[in-house]
């Protein structure tokens, strides 16, 4: 035990810099950990555990029980080949000052070679550390970084100090950060900005505590907990609650070293502004949280997190200052709001003519006209009036040139909805405009209303088709126009509303609007959407293989989306049914026979009745024909998918009998081909329903 204590110790590394942007901190913590662990492992220096910290200025890691000495390193040198000439072998021995009995012969994948292995004593960890730190500093990657003064090194913000302690002693050394510019390793860091004292760290185990005493909470989770606990105790007294805003909370954690929760008041005159305006003005510019009562009504209060120690006088001043700022912000917002409500949608739409949607895709005004045309076509499918669909589309983008949205782009749609309401537009229209940017991601809520869903979908189809038509489709990780998210949203709406439209039908009007007749563009869009359909459907607890089997049919472009869903449901339901399993086995058997044959690229293959010499052949012939008719008749009916599967199951017996009593590989080639074609036609008609080959056993 004693030995272990001597051979191991703790390590502290801290990068102290000017305020690092909140959004980068958590990642930097992870990166620091990865880089250091990698460097230590590469050098065979073992350790027990680590803990990382990050905040505005302190980024640090403590490694527990790290070995104070590197493990001895075995270095192996390869000499000449075993069968090399004497001269080469002597040369190797001489240059390494070896005798022949100090070498060994080893087999490698390139043949037998002479080897010499040598143990090199492990270095002391403190001797290696400066190299490691320099390696970390130089390989650190920030999303955005800068130089400062005469440095060449780039860091998110100027790096001012590096603490490096091993076993509580400062490690001697430095890191070069520019030509003849160095940072020496130190044993001190700095306290909260408020006092900015130099803090000497004598013991690593006291590091966290010592800084907390100096009002820097290093652990971001502790800062988060403090914010949450202090908030709830402050609000409970007033029976209020905080509007949940996780991402704001995480940002605020990165803006403070010592959180101090304060609450300010909003002047009553502003409470008439739409709720979203209030919360956006508070959130975006000021990073304030909104507060509501238990019934979710917005309170005329706001909560914010100051970076300070509680002190009555100061807190009072800070609150007063923040209230003044908010008042100025909200009077700006009121000014925009008042101006906007005296403006008209016609006026805004006129302005949209001057705003380009995208180069060669026309103006935003062109976009709403296209959207209106498409909306009318699909109105019925969404169960809404076509006049309202058209009106919603026409008004949908006006708010983009309103003063409020120019100031707060995140209020797009929301302001349009409010303004349409004020202008006494139809309620369905106002709600549709309000929510037509939803869903904003795979996990966002869908629009609640039918008209909103239609408008959202049409907007997104127009964007998708537009960008594909000018060859701006996403490539690799690049998707600058968010087309992936866009088509996810389209697919989610289609599935959720059980829309009775096929991909072909969906894209046709939009392709027409863009005068795009290219088959390959259409093919690309359809493939793109099928890919998203696959993702969304398999995320709905469907088996991937079942989803694939239905989407991998040749005619999938013509199958309405709601049929695709219900077909997947039906197949999933039958998956455990024994008869269905027999059917699958039969289908795969047919598939295997056909696989080894070559067929011309046709949909229908000639079958001559005169070559039949068994009843089984006739039965299969009938089955194949009647299923072909059946799938045309019932394939597009949502409720008939089960019936069709039952139909398939009923084929089990005739197919089994066929295999029992009919030899496909007949000596007479005419008969052989006739039988193969018979099976091929059956296979083709079944495959219009689903490509069962893809279903796993």
């Amino acid at each position: 035990m004693n030995n272990m204590e001597k051979s191991r110790g703790n390590l502290l590394l801290e990068f102290f810099s000017e305020e690092i942007p909140a959004r980068m901190q958590l990642n930097s913590e992870i990166q620091l950990q990865n880089l250091l662990v990698k460097s230590l492992t590469q050098r065979d220096i073992a350790f027990e555990s680590f803990k990382t910290f990050s905040g505005p200025r302190h980024l640090s890691i403590i490694i527990k029980n790290i070995e104070l000495e590197q493990k001895d390193q075995e270095i192996e040198k390869r000499g000449p080949r075993f069968d090399a000439n004497r001269k080469a072998i002597d040369g190797f021995l001489k240059s390494n000052q070896l005798k022949i009995d100090e070498t060994i012969i080893k087999e490698t994948n390139k043949g037998k070679f002479y080897f010499h292995s040598q143990m090199i004593k492990g270095q002391k960890t403190y001797e290696i550390l400066p190299d490691i730190i320099s390696e970390i500093v130089n390989s650190f990657v920030w999303p955005k970084s800068q130089r400062w003064a005469n440095t060449d090194l780039k860091w998110a913000r100027p790096l001012r100090n590096i603490v490096l302690l091993l076993n509580n002693d400062v490690v001697k050394g430095k890191v070069e950060i520019g030509k003849n510019v160095f940072l020496n390793f130190t044993n001190f860091t700095f306290s909260h900005r408020y006092s900015d004292k130099k803090i000497v760290i004598n013991k690593i185990e006291n590091y966290e505590q010592l800084l907390e005493e100096n009002f820097v909470i290093l652990d971001r989770n502790k800062r988060l907990d403090k914010i949450i606990n202090d908030t709830s105790s402050l609000l409970d007294k007033g029976k209020l609650k905080l509007v949940n805003d996780k991402s704001l909370l995480e940002e605020v954690v990165g803006l403070v070293e010592y959180p101090n929760i304060l609450i300010g008041s909003i002047s009553k005159e502003f409470m008439k502004l739409p709720r979203e305006v209030l919360s956006t003005a508070m959130r975006v510019h000021q990073k304030y949280f909104s507060i509501t009562d238990k019934e979710n009504n917005l309170e005329s209060k706001f909560l914010f997190v100051a970076n300070s120690i509680k002190e009555k006088d100061r807190d009072f001043r800070v609150i007063e200052g923040n209230e003044r700022v908010l008042k100025a912000r909200l009077s700006d917002a009121s000014y925009f709001f008042e101006n906007d409500i005296t403006n008209t949608f016609q006026n805004w739409n006129e302005k949209l003519k001057k705003v380009t949607f995208y180069e060669s895709l026309g103006s935003l005004h062109d976009k709403i006209i296209r959207m209106a045309n498409i909306s009318k076509i699909f109105a019925k499918d969404f169960g809404v009036q076509s006049e309202l669909a058209k009106q919603a589309a026409i008004l949908s983008k006006a708010d983009l040139v309103s003063e409020m949205v120019m100031e707060f782009p995140e209020l797009q749609g929301i302001m349009g909805g409010h303004y349409a309401k004020i202008k006494n537009e139809h309620e369905e229209v106002t709600k549709a405009i309000f929510e037509h940017y939803k869903p904003k991601g795979v996990s966002d809520d869908l629009p609640e209303t039918k008209l909103g869903s239609l408008l959202s979908m049409v907007d997104k189809i127009d964007t998708l088709v537009g960008f594909f038509s000018i060859d701006k489709k996403p490539t690799g990780s690049k998707d600058p126009f968010a087309l992936r998210r866009n088509s996810f949203s389209i697919v989610q709406i289609l599935i959720n509303f059980k829309i009775n439209l096929s991909l072909n039908e969906l894209l046709k009007p939009s392709l027409k609007e863009y005068c795009c007749s290219s088959k390959s563009i259409k093919r690309n869009i359809i493939d793109f959407m099928i890919d998203k359909l696959k993702f969304v459907l398999s995320n709905q607890n469907n088996r991937m293989d079942v989803v694939n089997s239905v989407l991998n049919t040749k005619i999938v472009n013509d199958i309405p989306i709601k049929i695709i869903s219900s077909r997947i449901d039906s197949i999933s339901k039958f998956n455990k049914n024994n008869d269905f399993k027999i059917f699958l086995a039969n289908y795969k058997r047919i598939n295997n026979i056909l696989k080894s044959e070559k067929f011309p690229n046709k949909t229908e293959f000639p079958v001559d009745l005169k070559f039949f010499d068994t009843i089984e052949e006739e039965n299969i012939y009938k089955l194949s024909n009647s299923f072909s008719k059946e799938i045309i008749k019932k394939g597009v009916c949502e409720k008939s998918q089960d019936i069709l599967i039952n139909y398939l199951i009923k084929m089990n017996e005739p197919i089994s009998l066929f295999f029992d009593n009919v030899i496909v590989n007949h000596n007479d080639n005419n008969i052989r081909i006739n039988r193969l074609n018979l099976l091929k036609n059956l296979h083709n008609s079944i495959s219009k329903f689903s490509n069962f080959e893809l279903i796993e056993d």
Partner: protein
């Protein structure tokens, strides 16, 4: 007794503070600019020739689209910045800044001071840097930038720029909610004291009208083209270009562009090309200043 925090006192305090830090105290550049950065003392000087350059100055700034006819308590189309440029960026520059606040009567320890990420980019100057906006009790009172590039050229050594929004700062210190109520001179009203409104309200009204309604756009378009041509001519002789007058024309063009923008006569698609034209002027002037125009 409010002499100590009058608008003009804040200016003179900042001046004497930064003089003590070794800055040369300059006067505003005598052209309309959108920000203190445009002053040649910043744009050109950070590119050399001396690697040490420290300057401080007040710069009146014009942002024509921010005009509100004197009706908005916080927005002006003409306002003042106090600009400090230090090259190379000093190690204790953040502390120097905080001390300067203390010096003008704003003790950082009595407030909640925050450095919030705000990267700066000027498309027309081809300039960019990383830094923060500085919040005092939630109010943005300054901008802080480590210059990385100007005119598309790497700034070496890196300079730090501090820009105080003087009206904002004074409103904060005087606890005033309407910019026009700012105490300018610390003299009582009945003794002839002046407020910000006494001095600038009429100007805001008239210039808002000019910016949004009255400016002659065909005249402005012509002026823009003329400035561009002049700039090119001045740099024509690649061996002996005259960089400062060329850059002077670039500043002119930039302001004319802002005026045209306020009239809404530059379409979205044209906008980019105008910005690019100003940037080209800025870049060539910077290269000329460095004697690298023909490289």
């Amino acid at each position: 007794m409010s002499v100590n925090n009058s608008f003009q006192k804040i200016i003179t305090s900042l001046q004497s503070f930064w003089i003590d830090q070794g800055c040369v105290l300059l006067q505003p550049y005598d052209l309309e600019v959108g920000a203190g950065t445009f002053h040649p003392a910043t744009v050109l000087r950070v590119l050399g020739p001396d690697p040490i350059w420290k300057a401080a100055y007040v710069q009146p700034c014009r942002r024509p689209t921010d005009g509100r006819y004197g009706e908005n308590p916080n927005r002006l189309q003409h306002y003042y910045q106090f600009q400090v440029i230090m090259q190379p960026s000093p190690e204790d520059i953040q502390n120097l800044y905080l001390e300067s606040l203390y010096f003008i009567g704003l003790n950082p320890k009595d407030h909640d001071i925050r450095f919030v990420e705000d990267d700066w980019e000027s498309p027309t100057l081809g300039a960019s840097g990383l830094g923060w906006e500085i919040w005092c009790d939630g109010m943005e009172i300054s901008q802080f930038t480590y210059f990385q590039q100007v005119g598309g050229i790497e700034v070496k050594p890196v300079a730090s720029e501090i820009t105080y929004g003087l009206e904002r700062l004074a409103m904060f210190i005087q606890k005033i909610e309407n910019v026009y109520d700012l105490d300018w001179d610390g003299i009582e009203k009945n003794k002839g004291g002046k407020t910000y409104g006494d001095i600038f309200l009429q100007q805001e009204k008239e210039f808002s009208k000019y910016n949004f309604e009255k400016s002659d756009t065909s005249f402005l378009f012509k002026q823009f083209n003329d400035a561009e041509t002049e700039c090119k001519n001045l740099l024509d002789d690649k061996k002996n270009p005259i960089a400062l007058p060329a850059y002077h024309q670039c500043i002119k063009a930039s302001h004319i562009f802002n005026l045209l923008d306020a009239r809404g006569v530059i379409s979205v698609s044209e906008r980019q090309s105008y910005i690019l034209r100003v940037r080209n002027m800025a870049r060539s002037s910077c290269l000329a200043w460095m004697g690298k125009l023909n490289e």
